[in-house]
Symmetry: C2
């Protein structure tokens, strides 16, 4: 008997946890509407019903000198409590791995015990696309006929699939990727629309009512004159739009103002830090952001509708939306008996 | 085929993860010395080899109005990268549950992928006791004859068991707990020493060369005249020592100065915020802390040895120590073929 056996006899363990693989998550998703969940959570967050604490952020360089990191993002909304742990290394694609991966955790609201551990990569991509889809509706672009997707990786695929499914008016999709192969693979997978693969990002964007940027760029390159009149530009990646493109927009919307203000590593966060943009409704020399998606959904912020020259949506990514999805997936898994129960406790 | 199946075909999943239950962790621990691991990590951290970012902290009240929280604590040292997720509710004991529970994660240093998920409660208690044991050695109390343990819950049991095992000179152990039953249960489990159960905390502390406070108190009550001459008082709980007891100490040591300064909810953190204590080596009206355990181990900070009236050690809890233990446990599990491999990816 070791010293810690003596000590441990008074402890009770972590108990049972349900593990959900990506396959389990996928099965649960077939019975859920992630856009509805995201929309409700954005509105709840705007009403002050959610908790979105600062994230824990560990960064290092791996042996190739590549930026590598782990983020812990806790969040809560109504009875859903949980955390997203999403890790990434920019050298992963060169190793044949997705850049990012991780797990989602659900907590019991009463005891704080971890009840569910699920694969987080699929839901992370679903959440991001669902925010864009909710934004398209909320900002008045639900009748769009043409979509451009710049960057046909995981996020681009997810956005193209979700928006094609949800916008009945959509007829044309223009795709661009540095790798023509990635664009072709996505083109072949989109049903019911006319798909065009473009030789440049600019050409894809120039005819689109909605242009989604889902690249790996972290700097601006897309200029104001790329946009079709009245387009909605959705800036999902870290970069893409130049400072001028933000400045010349008819209106600029975000998901959470604090998230943007707290992240000067991204262009819009930097523009807030530099005093070019200010908080919605603020007075002074800074141009106020036009609002948040949650604020639009609750009626606190107005939108100009389809407006010229173009409207920008730049969500930074709210962990509380993932947590709301985890809770919905976890409830479906319980109802359908999905997942593997493991006993982590003593 | 659903829209996210279309989208998901380009994604690769989280892959394989090894799950370690508390039993697995216990088996790995029999072939490890946690005090050595903690000592090396404290020294590495002092040498600037570790990363200890700010933690993510989600707090709420459960339906009983009880303080409930989740903390995500990432950390890295040498080739060990990981995160501790430790959740707690103060109403858990009334439900027959340990107050705290959670999981520990190991990350691949190259890809940041989660490689191992383990039960974290046992290691959390082991880490805390190992810091105290390393502190006893480093501060010159390795020849102590008598030990007092105030609070005989999980942490008190772990401390009593580890210190009894590691201090060959130890002859007498005095125990106090509000619940005489908890004290009796621990008394019956300690081999090779004379154990006395005391009716008050003061009586237990008054004859002890080393007094460990492992209660659930978050306020001070132990006054300077409780301590035996030259005693080492180890403040593991949130409270216990009064402000005067900190002020009158011959020397005060911590684990990490930033952790203390950043947490004014705990007495010593508040005393730093109020300007009573300052950083080690600082000039000015504030009394400087005498050092960190890591600083003592690397020779950067001095200790007075066994000093009157008494010396205080007040570690706040460094996630990087848990991460170092996770890496060691994970390596043992691989070597011994322990744990359950699960496929979380698609």
């Amino acid at each position: 008997m070791s010293w810690f056996d003596v000590a441990d006899s008074g402890l009770s363990g972590a108990g049972e946890v349900t593990l959900l693989s990506r396959d389990d998550v996928r099965k649960c998703l077939t019975n859920l509407d992630p856009v509805d969940i995201v929309r409700e959570t954005l509105a709840d967050h705007d009403r002050g019903l959610g908790l979105l604490p600062a994230e824990a952020y560990l960064r290092w360089e791996n042996s190739r000198g590549a930026y590598t990191r782990s983020i812990g993002m806790p969040g809560a909304v109504r009875s859903a409590y949980g955390m997203k742990i999403i890790n990434a290394s920019v050298s992963n694609p060169a190793r044949g791995l997705e850049r990012a991966g991780g797990i989602g955790l659900c907590f019991d609201a009463e005891t704080a015990r971890i009840t569910t551990i699920m694969e987080a990569g699929l839901l992370s991509a679903v959440r991001t696309a669902a925010v864009s889809a909710a934004g398209v509706d909320a900002l008045g672009y639900g009748e769009a006929v043409s979509l451009a997707v710049v960057g046909c990786g995981a996020q681009g695929r997810m956005h193209a699939a979700l928006l094609t499914e949800r916008l009945p008016s959509l007829r044309n999709v223009a795709l661009y990727d540095r790798s023509p192969e990635a664009a072709r693979a996505l083109a072949g997978a989109l049903p019911g629309v006319s798909v065009r693969i473009c030789p440049t990002a600019r050409e894809a964007v120039s005819s689109a009512g909605i242009a989604v940027f889902t690249t790996t760029m972290d700097e601006g390159y897309a200029e104001p004159d790329w946009a079709a009149p009245g387009a909605l530009l959705i800036n999902v990646s870290l970069g893409d739009l130049t400072d001028t493109t933000f400045r010349d927009a008819a209106a600029v919307y975000v998901d959470d103002v604090d998230l943007v203000a707290d992240n000067p590593r991204r262009p819009l966060g930097r523009l807030m830090a530099e005093g070019v943009f200010g908080r919605p409704g603020s007075e002074g020399p800074a141009r106020p952001l036009d609002g948040t998606l949650g604020g639009v959904l609750t009626g606190r912020h107005r939108t100009p509708g389809v407006a010229s020259p173009y409207v920008v949506l730049n969500p930074f990514g709210m962990g509380v939306l993932d947590v709301a999805l985890y809770a919905a997936v976890s409830a479906r898994a319980r109802a359908e008996g999905l997942g593997t129960v493991v006993h982590l406790g003593s």
